[in-house]
Amino acid sequence: MEEKKILEVEGLETSYDMIKALKGVSISAITGKLTCILGPNGAGKSTLLFTLAGILNPDRGKVIFEGEDITNQQTSNLVEKGLALVPENRLIFPHLTVQENLLAGAYARLAKEREIVEQDISEMYARFPVLKERSSQLGGTMSGGEQQMLAVARALMSKPKLLLMDEPSVGLAPLIVGEIFSIIKQLNEEGISIVLVEQNASKALEIGDYFYLLDQGKQIFGGSREAILKENIIKKAYLGESAG
């Protein structure tokens, strides 16, 4: 089967002031698949997502989204093209109600398609019933798991083709983590391509199709689930060479 690449990254290098966080990362994400980026703290996973989403500008390298070079483009353009980021720690708007958070997520379409946006919100409520119960509650007063669902729903409001997710499991109880991962899996099955950054490698291995391993800003592995399980490379990356 011919597999189309929705996202291609070539030799990406990004730095924060003097510190180089990405030292040449090349990954690709296949349309409709779930691509996981694993790696320990400080590996550059979040930097990679921020660069893809246009928050940070790379020093070198190329980002190609659906065949179009999107390197150095503004975030607002990227959102309109169908790229959405669910940030780490959720970062919902704490003083906006759940409904307003969702409206803010549809920012790019708010002016033109108000009615369609309203429909999409009801769709989100059908998908996440807990958000409907809380629709007029301030975002900041919800539990972590509910906030994570809100963050996902808010990102979906921009109708993304590719969803970038930064550590959705961080700071959540194991039971909630399971729930969030099943939502991610379900979204992927519905046809949204996902790039998932995770520290929780065992959870990611359960649902991912393709895996990349980053360590200290460099990519040390890339391949399918079978390959990553065979090479036992995760242990090496997290625990050092001797563990392998």
Binding site: I55, V79, L85, H95, L103, Y107, S143, S158, L172
Partner: protein, 298 residues
Amino acid sequence: MEYIQISIDGILYGSSYSLIALGFSLVFGVMRRINLAYGSSLLLGIAAALWVENKLNFSIIFFIPTVLIFCSLSNLYVERVCFAPHNTKAGVVVSMISSFAIWMQLDEISAQLLPDRTHSFPSLEVSTFEFGELFFRGDQILNIFIAFIISAILFLAVYKTKYGIILRAVSNSADTAKLMGCNTNLVNSLTFIVAGVIGGIAAFLVLSTESQVTPLFGFWCTLKGLVAMMIGGLGSLVGAFWGGLLLGLLEAHLSYQFGPVFREITTFSILLIVLIIRPGGLMGVNIYKDLKSRDERI
């Protein structure tokens, strides 16, 4: 009866504080930053409008929009110079200090435009009302009415419209709003322009009741507006409105009791008391509690 009269005068006078505080509050609410050059940019707007009016000699109907345009332009200038280049977390202090520096620059330009110490200002020909033994100045009634209307419009715009959602999203977290595809730069610039228009209206109303401009007007605006906003509540639009009225009321009573010197003493004493007892202002969020609860909740 005289206490009632003083209360009325105080509240009416305080409505001009309310208007200026609204401009401060809007900028603080959206950007979480204090613009110390606000009063000076209003003075510059007024000075530029007077300068143009002197050259062209047009009527008051054209003068008012000229004031608003110049006030928003000078406010936009402050935003471009002091706020736009420092939009990181570390830039909060930088933009406040640079706005302090720009304050000097703007005051100098205003002094060049209006070389006399005092300059006459066109006043609205509004008569005084009598109600029993009480006197109401027509222009001050207009002032409080406009202050009320503007705060109501702002409140509705911020809390009930889609633009308001975007504004509050930027206020909550500019970085996250950017992720939603929002052009935060544009939102900030527009906020400063709107604050300039509100400030322009306030400046026009205040100066037309006094019929003159002095070079100290900029400092007066910054001081009273800032204090009224801090009393009412940081970033709270309703709070700014009531804070201004309360400040005017207390100033009027205390300066009547103890002499006009007490006007300024009152301003600073109230500020001090509010900052000690309730740092977030009377109607604002309790900032410390708010931050704590945000960190606690996971």
